[in-house]
């Protein structure tokens, strides 16, 4: 057990006054607390998932029978472009970063993220970028170049209207927001872990968020650069990608996939981190082969940067190069295998309770393994020549992204719901939602494998009868309906449980990680007395004997050492030994105003209102100055 002595009521009151956001609407707009910001990411991302889901429904409605006329070709292209864009950029990554922002500080015994205002800025930027993309629906110039936006189709000649500008500028803002979040998470994990939480005692979920953050920092700049170049080509005619001007459309593909392939694992790695947390909790034993799992996650993070060409097997690259990328892509199976069999061995040697999160995880394992096997197949370049850009690939990546990322996200939402709300979600509806989703998912996506072999390419708005595609498409569309029902049941369950669920207490699942040592929901300051860790599963381990110095520090931090000071422990990277006490910034309106100015500047560029763009750009500078201006000491 960790040292989580309670402290006095007075100390709690002082801590709460120090760490709380201000009351009322102003407080909401100026909030910087990691739990508020993290939850905003989670809720907003869930909302965007519903929008993307509606678009998926439209896709399946249009393809339910041959020559259907639900959507015309233009509308269909817009819908599938926005479905992919929303699910990747507005749902999966922000959702997982949001979970990280909320839970990582709790799991490592910190009081907040290291740059709270930057974190708030990241959220507002995310919202701004998301609204720019949504605004395209209002204007009618909806992006229609696919989520991959390949030039020359997306260049000025072949996509002259504004749709692609919405896409490029919106996505750029989202990626900057992603980088901001990653910075926060990497720094908090490396420098603000509880004393004693050495790297080898870090929960796997925290490892996964650390690796995700590092990958975001390396991968996102590639797409930001690529997008800015394409926007410059579109606005000013500089031919980066236009072959008639000595540009090269393949340059985009390389840059895009240098981002885009790690992106897959940027989503998958934290999702597997959730799985490890849930398996450990519900099997009620430590994860088997923890060091191997950490090594596996690290290997995936590194390997994922060497795979991008497997998205380009059909562009005419010589076979020797393709062979290297084939091998590298197949090697991912090994660290993935380590993870899968670690979970299975943990279940085998544990005493599993089959609560809803564990069911989602078991469903995840089945679907993810299937998707991983087809992943090895498409990694084989010659085989990929057949199935590339066919429905086989659509099936494959929905197995790894829906099965591999969305199922763990649903497990996480159910698992951590008590921490957010203080109430345990209902099990009956939870289990029902899992089974409906599991069946619906497989009915929706398994038949798509066949469609790929039968020659149905992706991104086609219609098909003729008599090609042997009708049955598979019909099943796929009906399965999507069942899947939707499952998601609705899941939402109803959480909505009902928020007010009627059983009171959770701090640790309803008897889990082992530190977030379960805090109250549910946690107070603004997370922990009255900062926890000190002596084991990998701190809540399953006996208490820690504190040395003199540590005791002195944690005792001192039971209340602010100066009025209003938001104090946080900084510790060493590897051993988590106390280095110093840092002070964090408090609430401020300037992150919101600065992000709003960025959004206005982007809109100015979008509609060619250059004066507006320049003025808003100046506004960003003003915002940053005001934000960073030193305050007189209280």
């Amino acid at each position: 057990m960790t040292a989580t002595a309670t402290g006095t009521a007075v100390e709690h009151a002082v801590l709460d006054r120090t760490w709380s956001s201000r009351p009322g609407i102003v407080g909401w707009l100026t909030a910087v607390n990691h739990k508020q910001i993290g939850l905003r990411f989670v809720v907003t991302a869930f909302g965007f998932m519903l929008v993307g889901g509606v678009l998926a429904g439209l896709i399946r409605l249009q393809l339910i029978v041959p020559r259907a006329e639900v959507l015309g070709p233009e509308a269909y292209n817009q819908v599938f472009t926005m479905h992919g864009t929303i699910m990747m950029f507005l749902f999966a990554v922000p959702m997982l970063e949001g979970l990280g922002m909320y839970f990582v500080p709790l799991m490592i015994g910190a009081r907040d993220l290291p740059f709270p205002r930057l974190n708030a800025f990241g959220y507002w930027l995310y919202l701004g970028g998301g609204l720019i993309l949504m605004w395209s629906f209002v204007t009618g110039s909806v992006p229609d170049g696919g989520w991959f936006a390949y030039p020359t189709l997306t260049g000025p000649e072949f996509s002259p209207d504004r749709g692609l500008d919405f896409w490029l500028l919106g996505v750029t803002m989202l990626e900057v927001s992603g980088i901001v979040g990653a910075l926060e998470l990497v720094v908090v994990i490396l420098r603000h872990r509880a004393p004693g939480m050495t790297l080898s005692r870090m929960p796997i979920f925290v490892w996964s968020i650390l690796l995700q953050g590092g990958m975001i920092l390396l991968a996102f700049p590639a797409i930001i650069a690529a997008s800015l170049m394409l926007e410059i080509e579109r606005k000013f005619g500089v031919p980066f990608y236009d072959p008639t001007g000595e540009g090269n459309p393949l340059l985009w593909q390389h840059l895009f996939w240098i981002f885009g392939h790690p992106e897959v694992y940027i989503m998958l790695i934290p999702a597997t981190g959730v799985v490890s947390a849930v398996v450990q909790t519900f099997a009620r034993r430590p994860l088997v082969a923890y060091p191997l799992v950490v090594a596996a996650l690290t290997a995936i993070a590194i390997l994922s940067f060497g795979l991008w060409v497997h998205h380009m097997f059909a562009v005419g690259i010589p076979m020797l190069a393709l062979a290297l990328f084939s091998v590298a892509s197949m090697l991912i199976a090994i660290p993935s295998g380590v993870q899968v069999f670690s979970w299975l061995a943990t279940i085998w040697t544990g005493r599993v309770r089959w609560s809803t999160p564990m069911l989602f995880v078991a469903g995840f394992i089945v679907i993810f393994v299937a998707g991983g096997i087809t992943g090895v197949m498409v990694a084989s370049a010659p085989f990929d020549w057949q199935v590339h850009d066919s429905f086989f690939v659509v099936a494959h990546f929905h197995y790894v992204l829906f099965g591999g990322v969305v199922f763990p996200i649903f497990a996480a939402l159910h698992y951590w719901f008590p921490k957010w709300t203080g109430r345990v979600p209902g099990e009956a509806l939870g289990k029902a939602s899992f089974w409906i989703m599991f069946v619906g998912f497989n009915v929706a996506f398994f038949p798509q494998h066949f469609l790929g072999f039968l020659g149905m390419p992706r991104r086609v708005y219609t098909y003729d009868p008599g090609l042997g595609w009708e049955g598979h498409n019909l099943a796929s569309s009906l399965g999507t309906g069942v899947l939707t029902l499952g998601i609705l049941v899941f939402m109803v369950n959480l909505a009902v449980s928020a007010s009627r669920g059983r009171i959770a207490g701090p640790n309803p699942w008897s889990a082992d990680t530190l977030e379960w040592a805090a109250a549910s929901p946690p107070p603004s300051y997370n922990f009255g007395e900062l926890p000190v860790v002596g084991a990998r599963e701190p809540l399953w381990a006996p208490g820690v004997d504190l040395d003199e110095r540590t005791r002195a520090v944690t005792t001192a931090l039971r209340a602010p050492t100066a009025p209003g000071a938001r104090e946080q422990l900084a510790t060493t990277v590897v051993d988590a030994q106390i280095v110093e006490v840092t002070r964090l910034a408090g609430p401020s309106i300037w992150p919101l105003l600065t992000a709003a100015a960025v959004t206005v500047a982007m809109v100015g560029v979008l509609v060619d209102a250059w004066t507006l763009a320049v003025l808003a750009g100046l506004g960003v500078v003003v915002g940053l100055v005001a934000w960073l201006a030193p305050r007189s000491p209280a």
């Binding site: 057990m1 015309g72 070709p73 233009e74 390949y150 020359t152 072949f158 008639t244 090269n248 393949l250 009620r284 430590p286 088997v288 082969a289 596996a296 562009v315 010589p318 076979m319 062979a323 197949m330 090697l331 199976a333 295998g337 069999f341 299975l344 279940i347 085998w348 040697t349 005493r351 599993v352 089959w354 069911l359 078991a362 394992i365 089945v366 393994v369 096997i373 087809t374 090895v376 084989s380 370049a381 010659p382 020549w385 057949q386 199935v387 590339h388 850009d389 398994f446 038949p447 072999f453 039968l454 020659g455 390419p457 992706r458 991104r459 098909y463 042997g468 008897s510 889990a511 399953w540």
Partner: protein
Amino acid sequence: MSAPVVGTRPVLLVALAAGLTACSGNPNALDPRGEGAARIAGLWWLMFWLGTAVFVLVLVVLAVAVVGSRRRRRGRAEPDDPTLAPPPEGERSAHRLVVGLGIVMPLVILLPVMVHTFRVGADLSPVHEGGTDLTIEVIGHQFWWEIRYPDHGVVTANEVHIPVGQPVELQMTSRDVIHSFWVPNLHGKIDLIPGEDTHLHLHAHEPGEYWGICAEFCGVQHALMRILVVAHEPGDFEDWMAARAQAPPTPADPAAREGAELFLELGCAACHRVAGTPAEGTRGPDLSDLAVRRTLGAGAIENNRANLGGWVADPQALKPGNLMPPTPMSGEQLQALLAYLETLE
């Protein structure tokens, strides 16, 4: 929870086998009629059986794990106090499971897949196969295919005619956006990229008509950009080529003659070429052999008089978003034009 999953697996296998062998005559990558598709199908079946074995293995381990976990759970009192850490049991054998099945097993499985991948990839690589007797240029356009036989001076559209029994080199590029040439029964796909040349060797084993479709999203009518490969016995191919090498005959029928003049007057010739006439447009498909093509609009509709009339009168109705504008004309003019177009062979 794994029991129902295990139960459905045989059903899925049966469905898989049925789904993959049905519907001959339609595009089907696993019904190979050419060298590339055959080699790739062989690779697929190797990976399919290995993959199925791995999947079943995981399900079995999951099932055994669930049962084992349940037995262990019954066998002892429930410690509800979270501070009572469950003592790690069977740690060493659990570790062995992870190393054995998580590392060694994938390596063993991947090795033959990698070797087979290299072999098939190298054999199908155009460089490795060397020169061919026939080279065909395929040029992608929104949303149709230009097909040129440079050694014979023949140009056509949306149909590639090849002789069986020998590799034929397709040399590809694009005039506008990226397209991808995919005829599943014959070979995998290769992209057509503006400013680049790509190559694909088609080697049909038996005569027939093989449908394919553009596989890279290329804009509003990506869905209706189909391609037909017609594989002939070598003798028949020679005949086809000899017929194509001739310009279409000057129409004898007066209506058709009027149509030929209208073709030039109404502006058709600005975009379309007809060999042996002043019509030298290159924006749209070459129409020199229009009357003998199977379809109109790159596979959008069957080529018959009614459809041709509908297409000429209002191209946007049948394939919305294609780049052919409607041409205002009277009913008589349309009939004359159709009479002329039907002589183009």
